[in-house]
C-alpha cells in the first residue's frame, strides 16, 4: 500500500503544512478555546459517542462479512486526524479548537478506543501502538508550536510560512486523491457496495451529525464547522497501523479495506464540505458598503 519512503514524504509534507497552520495561530487562540471547554467537550462526545455508534449501526445493518464489520468499527473508534485541521483551516473554522480536539481525542484515545470497542465489539482485543499515537501527537504539535513561534518572532515569516503551508496543503489533498486511485485500482474493482457504502457514509454522517449536534447546542457556526469536520475525519493511518499490529495475513487485508477506502473518500468528502462551508461563511459575512466613507 504505502511504502516507507512515501510514508516519510507524507510525514514531511504534513510537518510543513502544520507549520503553516501553526503560523496562523496565536497562543491567545488556544487560551480562548481552553477557557470555554464547552466546544471541546462537545467534540469529545461527538468523537467517541456518535462516531462509534454510527459505525456500529453501519456494521450491524450492512450485508458485509465479519472482517469488514470489524474494519468499520475500528475506523469509527479512531481519534481525529491531522487532515481535519487542514480542512478546518480552509473552512474558516476554529483551527485552535480543531488542534485541541485532535490532541484530546488522540490522548484520550488510548483509554477510550479499547473501552468503546469493548462496548460495541465485545471481545475484540486490540493492540494500540503507542508509538503511532506519540508520532501523531508530535507530528501535530511540534510544527504548530514552531509555526506559532515563527509568527511571534516575525509576522512576515509567519505569513509566508502560512502561505506556503496552505499551498502545500492544496497540493497534498490533490496528491492524496490522484495517487491513491491508480495504486488501489484492483482493490477498488473487487470491493462490494456494502464496503463502499460504509466507507463513504462514516465520513458524511459523522460530519453532518457532529455539525448539527454542535449547532443544536448553540455553538457558533465557526466552531460547529470545526466539530463537524473533526468528528467525521478520523485518523486513517492510525487505524491501518492498529490493524497491522493486531491481525495478520488475509484477515488483516480484509479488515483494512474500510480504513483504506475511508481514507480516500474522506478527502473527497471533506473537500466538498469545505467548499460548501466556505460559501456559507462568505454568505454569513457582514456586508460592508463599498467604501467606509
Amino acid at each position: 500500500m504505502v511504502g516507507p519512503l512515501e510514508q516519510a514524504i507524507l510525514a514531511l509534507m504534513i510537518f510543513v503544512i502544520m507549520l503553516g497552520m501553526g503560523a496562523s495561530l496565536t497562543p491567545r487562540d488556544f487560551v480562548l478555546a481552553l477557557k470555554r471547554p464547552y466546544g471541546l467537550m462537545i467534540g469529545v462526545i461527538s468523537q467517541y459517542g456518535f462516531m462509534p455508534l454510527i459505525g456500529f449501526l453501519l456494521a450491524v445493518s450492512l450485508p458485509v462479512p465479519e472482517p469488514i464489520k470489524v474494519g468499520i468499527l475500528i475506523m469509527a473508534c479512531m481519534p481525529g486526524g491531522t487532515t481535519s485541521n487542514i480542512f478546518t483551516y480552509f473552512s474558516k473554522g476554529n483551527l485552535a479548537l480543531s488542534v485541541l480536539m485532535t490532541v484530546t481525542s488522540t490522548v484520550f484515545g488510548v483509554l477510550l478506543i479499547p473501552l468503546v470497542l469493548v462496548l460495541y465489539a465485545g471481545a475484540l482485543d486490540l493492540d494500540i501502538p503507542r508509538e503511532n499515537i506519540i508520532a501523531t501527537l508530535v507530528l501535530l504539535l511540534l510544527p504548530v508550536a514552531i509555526g506559532m513561534v515563527l509568527r511571534k518572532l516575525n509576522a512576515n515569516t509567519g505569513a509566508v510560512t502560512e502561505f506556503m503551508g496552505s499551498l502545500l496543503a492544496v497540493f497534498f489533498i490533490v496528491f492524496l486523491i490522484v495517487s491513491w486511485i491508480p495504486r488501489n485500482w484492483g482493490f477498488l474493482m473487487e470491493t462490494t457496495w456494502g464496503t463502499y457504502f460504509a466507507s463513504i457514509a462514516l465520513g458524511i454522517v459523522g460530519i453532518t451529525i457532529g455539525y448539527l449536534f454542535a449547532r443544536a447546542l448553540r455553538l457558533h457556526p465557526r466552531n460547529a464547522r470545526t466539530v463537524g469536520l473533526e468528528t467525521g475525519i478520523q485518523n486513517g493511518p492510525l487505524a491501518i497501523a492498529i490493524i497491522a499490529f493486531t491481525f495478520a495475513g488475509t484477515e488483516a487485508q480484509s479488515i483494512m479495506a474500510v480504513p483504506v477506502l475511508y481514507s480516500l473518500f474522506i478527502v473527497i468528502i471533506s473537500t466538498l464540505v469545505t467548499l460548501y462551508f466556505r460559501r456559507a461563511n462568505t454568505a454569513a459575512e457582514q456586508k460592508m458598503p463599498d467604501s467606509l466613507l
Binding site: L32, A159, Q286, P289, D290
Partner: protein, 573 residues
Amino acid sequence: MSLEDRPWTAFYGPSVRKEITSTHYRTIGDLIGAAAHLYGRKPAFTACLPNGMNGTLTFDQVDEMSDALAVYLREIAGLERGDRVALQMPNGLSFPIAAFAVFKAGCILVNVNPLYTSEEMAKQFEDAEPNALIIVDMFADKLPGAIKGHPIPNIIVTQVAEFLPAMPRGIVRLVQKYWDKTLHPIDLPHIRLPEALAAGRAKRAAQSIAVEEYRTDIAPDDTACLQYTGGTTGVSKAAMLSHANLIMNMEQTMEMISGVEKGKEVALTALPMYHIFAFTVNLLGFYSLGARSILIPNPRPLSNLKRAFENYKITWMSGVNTLFNGLTNEIWFQDTPPKHLKFASAGGMALQSSVAERWEEVTGKPVLEGYGLTESSPVLTFNPLGKTRANSIGIPVPSTLVRCLGEDGTPVGLGEPGELAAKGPQIMRGYWKKPDETAKTLRDGWLLTGDIATMDKDGYFRIVDRKKDMVLVSGFNVYPNEIEDCLARHPGVMEAAVIGVPDGASGEAVKAFVVPHDTALTEADIRAYCKQHLTNYKVPKTVEFRDDLPKSNVGKILRKDLRAEEIAKRDAA
C-alpha cells in the same frame, strides 16, 4: 462672539489651549521634517495586509523618501510650485511618501477616490488639471478613459505591497496577478515609484538640492490640498484647504484628544486616507505625535482587520459608525477585543448611540464622536474624553465658533433647531474655480454646513437633520431622522426612509418608505405605531413598502433618489 459667549470652553481639559494663536509649523513640509527629527528611527507607518504580511517605514525613511520624490517631481517631472498632483491609492506605504512629497515640492495634492470609475476620474481630472498622477497599479486600467479630457503628462505607478520585504511583496504580486487577476498591463508611458525615488535621489545628490527651498516661498495660506466633496449631493467640487487650515485643524483636534503619549501610540488606520477625516487626524495628526500608524489597504471584509489587531498593540483608532458596528458584531473581535486600546474616535457620519454603547461594552473603552465637513479640514466639534454625551457631536474645538442660524440668518435660541454655521482657522479658502458655490457656502467667514442642529446651555451640539431633507408640513418643520428613528424601533421594520412629497392641502406631506421584516405589516400598522409616538403632523401620510432602499456606496440611504422617483412618478401621472 467673544470667548465668554462660548459656554463649551468650560468642558475643555485643564491643559487645552482655548485659543490657538500660532501653530507649531508653517507648512506641512515643515511638520514632516520636524517629526522625522524628533522620532527618527521609530516606526512611522506599517502596512498590514489581511494575511498579516507587512512592511514598515521609519520616520527617517519617510522623510528621506518623500524628499527624493519631491526632487523627482520638481526636477525631473518638471512640476512648478502650485501645480496639482493627483493621488489615487488605498492605504499603504506609498501614500504617506507620495502625499508628503507633494507638500514638500510645493505642489497641491488632489486626493482621488480609488474606487472611482473612469468617468468620475475624468471629471475630477478635468476640473483639477493635475500635471502628475501617482496611482496604484490595480486601478491603472481605468486610466485611458480617465485622461481623455485632461491628459496627465506624468504618471507614477505604485503597488499595494510597495516597500514590503521582497518575499511577501513577491507573493502578493503573484496572488494579485494569477489568482485575483487584478493586475493589467499598463500601456501608457509611466514610471514605477521606486524608480522615481531612485532618480530623485540621484538628482538630489548630483546637484546637492536643498528640498526645504521648494517651500521657503510658500505661505501658510497657500492651498495645500484640493479635497473633492459632494459626491452624494450632485455637483462635485473641490474645497481648497491651505497648509494653515490643515495644520490648525490637526492641532485643534489633538488638543481635544487627551491622554496621548508622544512617540508611543499605535494607531489603526482602517479608514481610507484619501478621505479628509483620516487624512487630517491619522496621516497628519498621529504622524506629528510620533505614533506608529497601522495602515489597512482594504477593511472589507472586516476579517481583513483581524491580523492587524492580533499582531499590533493598537492603542487608538478612528472609524465610522459602520466600522464600529461591524467590528462589535465580529466574533473574533468580541473574543479578543484590543486590550491596549485607550479610546476610539468616530466621524464621517452620525454615530448611533446603540453602536457607541455596544462598542464600550465590548472593548471597555469609549468611542468619541466628532463632527465636521471637508470644507472645515474637517473637524469642527468633538466630544471631550470623560465628558461625552450620547447623540451629541460634542463641543467646538479650540478657536472655533459654532452657532445655529434660523431662516433669517440670525442665531436661534438655546435648544432651537437652526442651520449649523462655523467660523475658525480650519475653514477652507473656498471652492476651486467655483466662486458661486463658494458664495453660497461661505458668508462673512461663516461656513454654512446645511445641517440642522441644536445647542444646549453647555454648548454641546446635536445634529437634527440635513437642511435640504427637512419637510415643511403646514408650516411645521419635520425632520426625517426623527420619523425614521421611530419607524426603525417598530419590530416589523427592517429599514425606513422618510421624505417630503408635494401635497395640496399641507404644502408638503410626510411619506415613508419601509422595508419590512415580515410581509404581514400594513400601512395602518405603521401609522398607528407612529401615532403612539409622534405628534400628528409628523405621522407619515403615506407608507410605501419596498424590498430595498437606494443607498450610496457608503451605505447612507439616498433620500434624494427617493424624491426623484416621486417627482418622476408625478410627472408621468
